[in-house]
Amino acid sequence: MEVRFGGAAALTGIDLTVAAGERVAVIGPSGAGKSTLLALANGSVAPTAGTVQVLGAVPAALRGRALRQLRSRVGTVHQHLELVGQLRVVHNVNAGRLSSWSAGRAAWSLLRPQGVPEVLDALGAVGLADRVFERTDRLSGGQRQRVAVARLLVQRPELVLADEPASALDPVLTDRVLELLAGLVTEGGGGMVASLHDPALALRHCTRVVGLVAGRVVLDAPASALTLADLAGVYGARR
């Protein structure tokens, strides 16, 4: 499988399968292709060569309702969070269930927020219940990261994709967020792919570690078989 942007290959020769219940950490230096790998998995980037199968379907072959249904089963925490700053927190969290809401309900909710109890539960889990009606652009970077996670908790996806989901959080909250995501995987019966900068986190929260360097897989092993030194090698393996 291969992905090219313009002339440059972002990923080449990738062949990965994530089994149900697996929690895969993707590690590697900046620019290695981690975000691209996650974008492939949620269907927002199509491979130039090869195929991507997600939850038993090929996103590139789907259109309209079928594609939306598949996508509603995949939850993503984006690296840049992709929240709408002008909306209140409650709406950004509710955005996680837009796939199951009618257009009318979605519109009405902007005027009179719908399903506030579930939103409060999700926000409570990340410690943000008191900011539910705050405008999102008034929050700090770490708080917004937790809103993005709360969106996922409301969405209840089967496959969890997380791009640096805890980069702006303190150690306690980082562990908490990764536990929540792991809980989603257990509950949904799918898997998780998370790109992580911190090798220690990868070993602590994931079952398998994939190392990417310059668009190629250089490491793929169960977390239990790896040490911090093994992972440090991925960062050292520059060309």
Binding site: N42, L83, H91, L120, D130, R176, E179
Partner: protein, 538 residues
């Protein structure tokens, strides 16, 4: 492992932002008042019998005049219009750049009084429509190309100064302050810390002004300054719709050129093709600068503009004549009451116009914005169709809209308001589409990635972010609409425009002064209200 989370807190109640709700309710109330004033809610306003006349206008759109002699006339007229627009816009940008320094908060710092006074001075040139400037300047300069150039340059210069100042003022202060803190002088600090972040906006606005200048050059042609507008006005007065449409299409083509050039330069500036290791200018941007300079030089030569006219004895004499005739303003009671009534009509007309334009722009912006990335063919065609329709809406001058809408509506405030509304929709729709294009596409993509349907994606990903800029544009255009009512005031639509025309027809300069003062005051008032409303929106 135990997680320590903050103790459960009381969930806050959903609180509406009071100021915004107050402004929203106020806007609805003013709109309702305007609609009542336009008799929309009381009695019949439609005249279905006139649909045949309207149909003649509309169907001529498909069969514009294409005979050779007329096309020849149009071709030479296009050159004049282009020359006026280029010189007028160049003058406006030059005046605007100088004026911006004089009215920017950055310049005045904490001296609020000085800042407020300098803004107040700008209101006079800004409050009068280009056509009004044209009529006044004809009296000073006679048949001189300066009339057209100054009639565009003066009011546009004032508007540009205000917008440039706002753009510079809104740039985040960090970079400049960091430089000042290291002891860099004020000017270099502005050059390095303020101008680079503001330059994209400044350039985009300059090109927008160029497109506006083309349309204004046509409006000036209506009062005799030559060019496309002059041909359009001749054909219009004889209701030769086929020729009117040819002129409108020629004007549309010019506007398309201005828009496309502006967009290309803007995109290039946003994503410059520079090589990191060598200092090299982007050839496309260099070419744009050179073409602009050459265009201005050609316009100067083509119109044979001579600075000597401005300082000639004759100009001084005519200025004295007009000032003597215009002072003192007419202040007798019945006339002032007439001005008051007309001012109310003008406000109502502008409110209906801007409401129509805003609703239309919000609905069309999504389709009109050219989407990034791959899109289906029907979607692409729909986008092009809407953009062209918006272009034609603003290429047909408001007086023409006023007459053809009067065919199907009964006389009153409404035809004028709607004429202004569809014209403003043409302008606002384009601005809204551009604002939509410039939004960060990622939130919407993220919603699509989690399976939200397109309508929901638009509601949650685009609407919240686009509302602010689009309403800000609408409030800004409201002030412009007040001035534009001058163009549609005749034909029984009333307002200050009709009053102005009737006093000009009598050469009653004292009364003309009063009406102009009223117009300026109204513009200032609307500017203040819209500035406060915009502040509440932020």
């Amino acid at each position: 492992m135990t997680t320590v989370l903050p103790a459960p807190v009381a969930v806050p109640a959903l609180q509406r932002v009071r100021a915004r709700w107050a402004w929203g309710l106020g806007a609805v109330a003013v709109l309702a008042w305007s609609l009542v004033g336009a008799k929309l809610l009381s009695g019949n306003v439609v005249n279905p019998a006139g649909s045949a006349q309207f149909g003649r206008f509309a169907s001529a759109a498909l069969s514009p005049a294409l005979d050779r002699p007329f096309l020849g006339v149009l071709a030479s007229s296009v050159l004049i219009t282009v020359a006026y627009a280029a010189l007028g816009a160049a003058l406006a940008v030059a005046l605007g750049a100088l004026g911006a320094v004089a009215v920017a908060r950055t310049t005045w710092g904490r001296r609020r009084l000085g800042w407020a006074l300098s803004r107040g001075v700008l209101a006079v040139p800004r409050g009068l429509h280009e056509a009004v400037w044209g009529l006044l300047l004809v009296n000073l300069l006679g048949l001189d190309p300066w009339v057209g150039v100054l009639a565009i340059g003066i009011p546009y210069g004032a508007v540009t100064a205000k917008v440039f100042a706002d753009l510079v003022d809104e740039v985040p202060r960090g970079g400049q302050e960091a430089l000042l803190a290291t002891g860099v002088g004020r000017l270099p600090a502005a050059l390095y810390g303020l101008l680079p972040p503001a330059s994209g906006g400044l350039l985009a606005y300059s090109f927008y002004r160029l497109e506006c200048a083309i349309r204004s050059a046509v409006v000036l042609g209506l009062i005799g300054a030559g060019g496309l507008g002059y041909q359009l006005s001749l054909s219009f007065s004889a209701l030769r719709w086929d020729e009117v449409w040819s002129a409108v299409y020629a004007l549309s083509a010019l506007c398309v050129l201005a828009v496309v050039a502006g967009r290309a330069v803007r995109r290039r500036l946003a994503a410059p093709r520079s090589s990191a290791d060598r200092l090299r200018r982007d050839p496309a941007l260099t070419a744009a600068v050179l073409v602009t300079l050459a265009g201005v030089a050609w316009s100067w030569w083509y119109l044979a503009v001579s600075p000597a006219t401005l300082v000639s004895d004759r100009t001084g004499q005519q200025l004295a004549y007009v000032l003597r005739a215009a002072w003192p303003p007419d202040t007798d009671g019945p006339f002032l009451r007439e001005v008051g009534t007309a001012a109310v009509d003008t406000v109502q007309m502008s409110v209906i116009a801007i409401a129509l334009a805003t609703v239309g722009a919000v609905l069309l912006a999504g389709v009109a914005a050219s989407p990034a990335g791959r899109v289906s063919l029907p979607r692409r065609l729909a986008g092009i169709a809407v953009r062209l329709a918006l272009l034609v809406l603003r290429a047909v001058p408001p007086p023409v809209w006023a007459l053809v809408l009067l065919f199907v509506l009964l006389p009153g405030v409404l035809p004028g308001a709607l004429a202004l509304g569809v014209y403003t929709l043409g302008v606002l729709g384009r601005l809204a589409a551009e604002a939509t294009e410039e939004l960060d596409p990622r939130p919407r993509d993220a919603l699509a990635a989690l399976g939200a349907r397109p309508v929901a994606g638009w509601l949650y990903g685009v609407l919240p972010a686009a509302t602010g800029p689009v309403l800000a544009f609408a409030l800004y255009r409201w002030e412009v609409a007040i001035r534009d009512t001058v163009l549609v005031g005749l034909l029984g639509a009333g307002g200050l425009g009709a009053l102005l025309a009737s006093r000009l027809a009598r050469f009653d300069w004292g009364a003309v002064t009063t009406v102009l003062v009223a117009l300026v005051l109204l513009t200032v008032a609307v500017d203040l209200v819209s500035a406060r409303a915009r502040a509440a929106l932020r």
